[in-house]
Symmetry: C2
Subunit: 419 residues, 2 copies
């Protein structure tokens, strides 16, 4: 099917000086694509009126939908309303409702609105105001050249709320879009190329569009269903795709793997502790990034020095002497040792050579051992990773979490799907 075209425009010198990485553009691009749009152009321009007018005109003409972020603040640099008014060949007009709303916001915080903030309520006369319930600057939408444009603040938190509550609903009303029904299968421990091969048979299924997204080490499979597909058919297809991928799926429309692990542990009343070397605390930081993780995360040990491995995890110095700190016996002893010391249900251990120094012909940089100690046994995996110190740590964390959740999900033989 022919997809409607969408265009993204970012305004602000801070992007063009490299002060800010424009995460808004990627965030919006992903959501527009998920919804069924074809994003054909993204532009960033600075705080100059003539450049902004030209870019706005170009973007309106390049797609059926334009989303512009930034340039709605109270300062002289904020020129979006002015530029759009010029493109629409209209005047700026004070929107009394929006002005009253801004005033009320300030009053609620016990402050008086600065005179400069009035500027934010001057909108193009033919535009429709979009109420900002998450900050002071109103957004607005406008029609031009047969297209619709949405102009919203560049603050990511506000921009995202505008998308959820103003833009997305408006797009669903205006266009026939398949992406209203997006299902995401989240996978660990499988390569994108393997996924693509496994899912070849699903490439030409009527009413379903297959997409991939890689967020190292995770791979996501995205299924978008056309409006005509029944709920039963959708469930059947999601099930078939999941079946084709197998155990590498850790969740459908779920949170990240650390959240899935957290839910499983909390439900079972179980706990976990970590002992890390090459990941330096990154594994415990990932597990505790989940709100409420204090219910099941008891203690983490970053046992960098060999003495620390002995002191805190009870790793026998003789084992380190015999096998080296980066070895299967040490990873296992770390996982077992921290589990016993802390009295947790599970212990996770990581040890490896993250580089750039420290490699040997026998154990080159990227050699990593991970282990999961359970009440009954220990799982171990050896990894050969490539790349920077940061990348090796990140992949080690992902692999350890993957090994752990495979154990947890294997026991329950269950892939979480929300109701």
């Amino acid at each position: 099917m022919e997809r409607p075209r969408a265009v993204l425009l970012s305004q602000g010198d801070e992007v063009l000086t490299g002060q800010t990485v424009d995460t808004n553009a990627a965030w919006l691009a992903e959501r527009l694509t998920d919804l069924g749009f074809d994003v054909v152009l993204q532009m960033t321009v600075g705080d100059r009126l003539d450049a902004l007018v030209a870019a706005t005109r170009q973007c309106f003409e390049a797609g059926e939908v334009l989303i512009c972020t930034g340039g709605l603040g109270p300062t002289q640099d904020d020129l979006t309303s002015q530029a759009v008014a010029r493109v629409l060949d209209t005047e700026l007009r004070l929107d009394a409702d929006e002005l009253a709303h801004i005033r009320a916001l300030y009053a609620a915080f016990g402050r008086t609105m600065a005179a400069s903030n009035e500027k934010q309520a001057w909108l193009p006369a033919t535009a429709e105001a979009l109420r900002n319930d998450w900050g002071t600057a109103p957004g607005f939408s406008a029609e031009h050249a047969g297209s619709v444009g949405f102009f919203v603040p560049g603050v990511p938190r506000e921009m995202r709320s505008f998308w959820d509550h103003r833009i997305r609903p408006a797009l669903l009303r205006r266009f026939e879009l398949p992406g209203e029904r997006l299902r995401t299968l989240r996978c660990l421990g499988i390569h994108e190329s393997k996924l693509a091969t496994l899912l070849k048979p699903f490439e030409d299924v009527d009413g379903m569009v297959l997409g991939f997204r890689t967020m190292l080490p995770e791979n996501q499979v995205k299924l978008r269903f056309a409006p005509g597909v029944s709920a039963e058919r959708e469930a059947e297809l999601v099930g078939a795709v999941r079946e084709a991928i197998g155990r590498s799926v850790f969740g459908v429309d779920s949170g990240p793997v650390e959240a899935v692990i957290g839910e499983l542990l909390a439900e079972a009343g179980e706990t976990v502790a970590t002992a890390e070397s090459c990941t330096g605390g990154g594994l415990s930081a990932t597990l505790t990034s989940v709100p409420g993780s204090s219910r099941y995360f008891l203690e983490g040990a970053c046992v960098y020095a060999n003495a620390a491995k002995a002191r805190t995890c009870g790793v026998e110095p003789a084992v380190i002497d015999q096998h080296g700190a980066v070895s299967e016996p040490v990873a296992i002893a770390m996982a077992r040792g921290i589990r016993e010391r802390v009295g947790a249900t599970y212990g996770l251990g990581t040890t490896g050579i993250a580089g750039p120094g420290g490699g040997t012909p026998d154990k080159p940089v990227g050699t990593v051992h991970i282990a999961v100690a359970t009440p009954d046994d220990v799982l171990h995996r050896k990894l050969r990773l490539a790349g920077s110190r940061e990348r090796i740590a990140r992949l080690t964390i992902g692999s350890a979490l993957d090994l752990f959740r495979r154990h947890l999900q294997g026991r329950t033989d269950f892939v979480r799907t929300p109701a």
Copy 2:
């Protein structure tokens, strides 16, 4: 002075579908700005020849310099050479040197070049090849409409090498740029607005351009010197700006604060251990992200549960009962306890309420205590932070490292500057 204009063009559907955050654009924008260019436009277009031709033409016309990333691979989607040839009104021509180089690269890896790779050596006839010493796809530069364009691979590692070794030197030859002499003062524990006020007197210094960059929680002051400024005058101005900011400067042209801390510890033959609660291991992960940190980082404890604080840091349960786990006495006991347990020169402790749950009227979300135990005393600081769980953890890590480096630098009364 009037700055030459630069334009950035990214090519690739993966950016427009939100698959990839375009970090290349921000990376290049920062370096172009540092060098003295005015980046006036950034565009991203997908894998369509007509769109790419139009965008390339527009970018050549919008600035004196164009840098285009992506679209140089061996597949059908990679259309940059073709698009540029059309803009230059020329043909594609097989570059025998580049073809030989690609073949040699494959041979060096014991592989045969695929036929499709020959495509990468077909460059616009009037372009100049730029040798790729970091991958297979050659880049090229071309002149059009009085401007120069550089076309390089989109793989960040290769793109950065092209910048360092091909583009930057060419720009320095072609333009009179002040940014050849950029000095960066890295600051922690000071707000951008405070910095701006302190440095007002330096706004109109002849031959020096003052800039700021925020990378929460760090703030950087960038000084760009015009070619006419002598080395003595440059040193004098850098010294004066450093003096004006004071102890908040942790380095001039240095690495990040964890690297500065690492150098100070390694030189003094001293060691450190960490005990973390609300930062969940992120503090030890940051300290150990520095290559060679095993010289001074001994052990980290992520003592999330109260029992863990007692077990590993010797925090008396009575102290937790009396003051709560998030309190000055507990932060201090954690720092002291881990220092003693591990036998390190220094112990760092963090405890706080990262949210979103767990706050009380007395101790709202964002209440954090950090402590540094030294051989002689303990430093403590209470923080009131706002924002997400992730942001509170990040700011706590930054504050703990700042407190620690202030102690280390106070002793030596020395801000590192490379020779």
